[in-house]
Each structure stands twice: as structure tokens, then as C-alpha cells.
């Protein structure tokens, strides 16, 4: 069953087209890797799927929410987002950041400490995010996904800044998520790791050239 369906979607920033007529169907319990050089619209596609961008033209549904209406805001509460920018409050600790987000979504706060342990941040529970390395921040983002357990994971360049152990952990979590029934969409301009079983979405010039 498709959990996301996009039809001829155009997204613009001002008059600049970020996505220029995207057609896509995403199935449940599957991993997808969006590939293509810089600036082809990989991040914009992920933001559209997260309900963070409104379509200028076309139609689409994600998790049964209509992207063309205010239902788009409902999508956000149901996806897990890992952006390539820092996503946390620098002055708060790793724990405080996750507790705030978990309480905001009424999730079980007891999941926070085990999630941080799982991603290797057990020794950094009280460390302000501004003192974490780029790789540790990325691991913190992973911990958030473990707490959130979303139906749709949207990961923008998830392997960036991670060491080998971190990359293995990322692949392990992606495979585990799809095995548990979640759909994972990740963007990458690097060759995709062999340990992630995924369908490829190839993008060029704001369009999807090939899915397979």
C-alpha cells in the first residue's frame, strides 16, 4: 500500500523552481535512496514529504494527509526528520533536547535515556549540544528517531559527518526500521552503502528521472 503519492508536483521558492513536476509513489516498509548531484531537489523532495513545503502546483498525499491543504501540518507530527543542519537547541543538553521534543509529542520520556545509550551518547547525557561534535549531533538526531518511532523516516544526507561505527549504526537502524514496517527515504550524493537494501530514486533538474 502506498504511504505517499505525488502527482505532477511543482514547488517554487519565489519564482525559482525547486521541484519541477514530481511523480512518485512510496510503498510501506521499504527504503528509498534519493540520489543526484547537488541542487537537483533532493532536500526539497524530503521537505515536501515532511509537509514542510507546500506544492505550488499538483497534488499529493503523505500518510493520507493532503499536501495541498492545511492537512500538510498534520504530516509533520507523523514523520521523523533528520536534516543535514543542526536540529537541536545548542544551549540545552542532549537529554533536555529529547525530553522537550518527546513531551511536545506526548511520547514516552522513559525512551530517551535508552535511545541515547543505543546511539553511543550514554556518556554525553548532560553535555550541551554546542559541545558535541558534528557526528555526535547526528547520532543525537538518530536517538530522536528511536524515541519518535515514526512511520516515515526522512533522512537528509544521514551518513554525513559520521565515522565508520556511526555509519554502521545508521545502516543498522534503517534496516531495522524497514523490517519493523516503517518507510525510510534518505538522500545521498555519495554511492549508497551496500548494507542498506533500498530502491533508488534518481533526480535531475527538480524531476525524478528513474525509480528502481
Amino acid at each position: 500500500m502506498a504511504i505517499a503519492s505525488l502527482r505532477d508536483i511543482v514547488v517554487t521558492a519565489g519564482t525559482f523552481p525547486l521541484l519541477a513536476g514530481v511523480n512518485l509513489e512510496l510503498e510501506g516498509a521499504t527504503s528509498y535512496v534519493v540520489t543526484g548531484p547537488n541542487g537537483v531537489g533532493k532536500t526539497s523532495l524530503l521537505r515536501l514529504l515532511a509537509g514542510l513545503e507546500a506544492p505550488t502546483r499538483g497534488s499529493g498525499h503523505v500518510l493520507n494527509f493532503d499536501l495541498a491543504t492545511t492537512q500538510r501540518r498534520q504530516v509533520r507530527r507523523n514523520v521523523g526528520w533528520l536534516g543535514h543542519e543542526g536540529s537541536f537547541y545548542d544551549d540545552l543538553s542532549a537529554t533536555d533536547n529529547l525530553l522537550f521534543a518527546a513531551r511536545a509529542l506526548r511520547l514516552d520520556v522513559a525512551l530517551v535515556a535508552p535511545a541515547l545509550e543505543r546511539v553511543g551518547l550514554g556518556g554525553r547525557l548532560r553535555t550541551p549540544v554546542k559541545l558535541l561534535s558534528a557526528g555526535q549531533r547526528r547520532r543525537l538526531g538518530l536517538a530522536w528517531l528511536l524515541v519518535r518511532r515514526p512511520q516515515l523516516w526522512l533522512l537528509d544526507e544521514p551518513y554525513a559527518s559520521l565515522d565508520d561505527a556511526g555509519r554502521d549504526l545508521m545502516s543498522d537502524l534503517i534496516n531495522h526500521a524497514t523490517a519493523s514496517g516503517a518507510t525510510v527515504v534518505l538522500s545521498s550524493h555519495d554511492p549508497v552503502r551496500r548494507d542498506v537494501v533500498a530502491s533508488h530514486i534518481e533526480m535531475r533538474g527538480g524531476r525524478i528521472e528513474r525509480v528502481g
Binding site: 509533520r76 543542526g86 536540529s87 537541536f88
Partner: protein, 219 residues
């Protein structure tokens, strides 16, 4: 909405507790501005006392700009703003929470500055004490307006300089109402219409914020 407001206020205050920007940067700035005002007016204690209400509210307004800028900076990195959006929080609650956290910081700073005026500008202590509820009302109004203007300014790459240009004209009525109320307390004049103006402004900015914060955030 109230639960979201509570969570957001607690988060913003926790960030302030960890960063100590208010204690080490904003408060010293306010006190220095107050000292400079005293020096600019000259040594005549009666003259200082007479214009102290205006100087006090001028300094509070300048301090408010720093607090507003700081509050909007917390969510200005694109990734942080995106994360907040993906939580799907009630926008009215986010507005109220940010305004509440700003009010706590601004009122605490204004209280310290108010007692600074008793030392530096020879304001009678009893006048400073009885004006505190009006200072609370004025800082609440500045906070409600400040969250809105802070959000609008933060969409620009030059937010620090855009914020005063946008906010100061809107703050002028609040500054005037606060100053007239304070002066009326010192000179035993009538202050009801100025208090009413502050209450009206607070209700107006509060309502606009609860209703429109989400739309502003989206845009």
C-alpha cells in the same frame, strides 16, 4: 494550547539559565545605559528625578530589543526551526510560551533597573514599589508585541538591525503609557487612561499573536 505554552516557556527559560545571556549581557547593558542617562542629565537630583520615568522606560525598551532578539535567535537556525515545525506544536501555544518566557526575563530585568533608578536617578523608593504592577503590565505588552516582531524580523538575514526599525514605532505607545503612569504615581496624578491603554495593547497583541503566529511562522 496551554500545555504547549508551558513546555515552550520552560524550554526558553532553561536555555536562558544555561546560557546566562540575561545575567551577563542584558542586565549589565541596562544598568550601564541607566548610568549614562544619569550622567547625561547632570548632577541636579530634582531634574534627574523628574525625567527618571521616561529614562527608565527608554532603557527598558532598549533592553526589550535585546531580549526579543535573543528569544528569536534561539529558533533562527534553519535546522532548529525545521525541528520545531516537525513537532507540529500549536502555534498559539508557541506564541504564548515564548511571550511568557520573555516576560519573566524582561520583568526581572526591569525590576532591577527600577531599583537602579532609586539609586542613580533619585526616584522615591515608594514610587518605584507602587509602579511595579504597571511595569509588569508594560513588560507583558512589550513581550507579546516583541514575539511577533521578533518572528517577522528573524526571516531577514539582517534581523538584528531590522528588529528595531520594525518594533520601535510599535513600542512608542507602550513607552509613553508606561512613562505617564510612572510620572503620575510620582506626582499623584491620574493614571487610569494610561493603564487602560496598556491593557488594550496587551489584549490586542495577545489576540493577534494567538491567531496569527502560525501563519507568520509558515510564511
Amino acid at each position: 494550547m496551554m500545555r504547549t505554552a508551558y513546555l515552550v516557556a520552560l524550554k526558553d527559560l532553561r536555555i536562558e539559565l544555561r546560557s546566562r545571556v540575561l545575567l551577563w549581557q542584558v542586565l549589565p547593558f541596562g544598568l550601564m545605559a541607566l548610568v549614562l542617562c544619569g550622567l547625561a542629565v547632570g548632577p541636579d537630583a530634582r531634574q534627574q528625578s523628574r525625567i527618571a520615568p521616561g529614562l527608565f522606560y527608554l532603557v527598558v525598551t532598549l533592553v526589550a530589543l535585546l531580549v526579543i532578539n535573543r528569544s528569536s535567535q534561539i529558533e533562527s537556525p534553519r535546522g532548529t526551526r525545521t525541528s520545531l515545525l516537525t513537532l507540529g506544536l500549536d502555534a498559539g501555544g508557541v506564541f504564548l510560551g515564548k511571550a511568557a518566557a520573555m516576560l519573566v526575563q524582561l520583568f526581572a530585568t526591569a525590576t532591577a533597573l527600577l531599583f537602579g533608578t532609586t539609586v542613580l536617578l533619585h526616584v522615591p523608593v515608594h514610587a518605584a514599589l507602587v509602579t511595579l504592577p504597571i511595569v509588569l503590565l508594560a513588560t507583558a505588552t512589550l513581550s507579546a508585541a516583541g514575539v511577533l516582531y521578533g518572528l517577522v524580523a528573524s526571516s531577514s538575514s539582517s534581523s538584528a538591525t531590522l528588529l528595531p526599525v520594525l518594533a520601535l514605532p510599535a513600542f512608542a505607545p507602550i513607552l509613553i503609557a508606561g512613562e505617564r503612569s510612572f510620572s503620575s504615581l510620582i506626582s499623584a496624578g491620574s493614571l487610569s487612561r494610561w493603564v487602560l491603554l496598556l491593557i488594550f495593547s496587551l489584549v490586542a497583541y495577545g489576540s493577534i499573536g494567538v491567531l496569527l503566529y502560525g501563519a507568520l511562522e509558515e510564511s
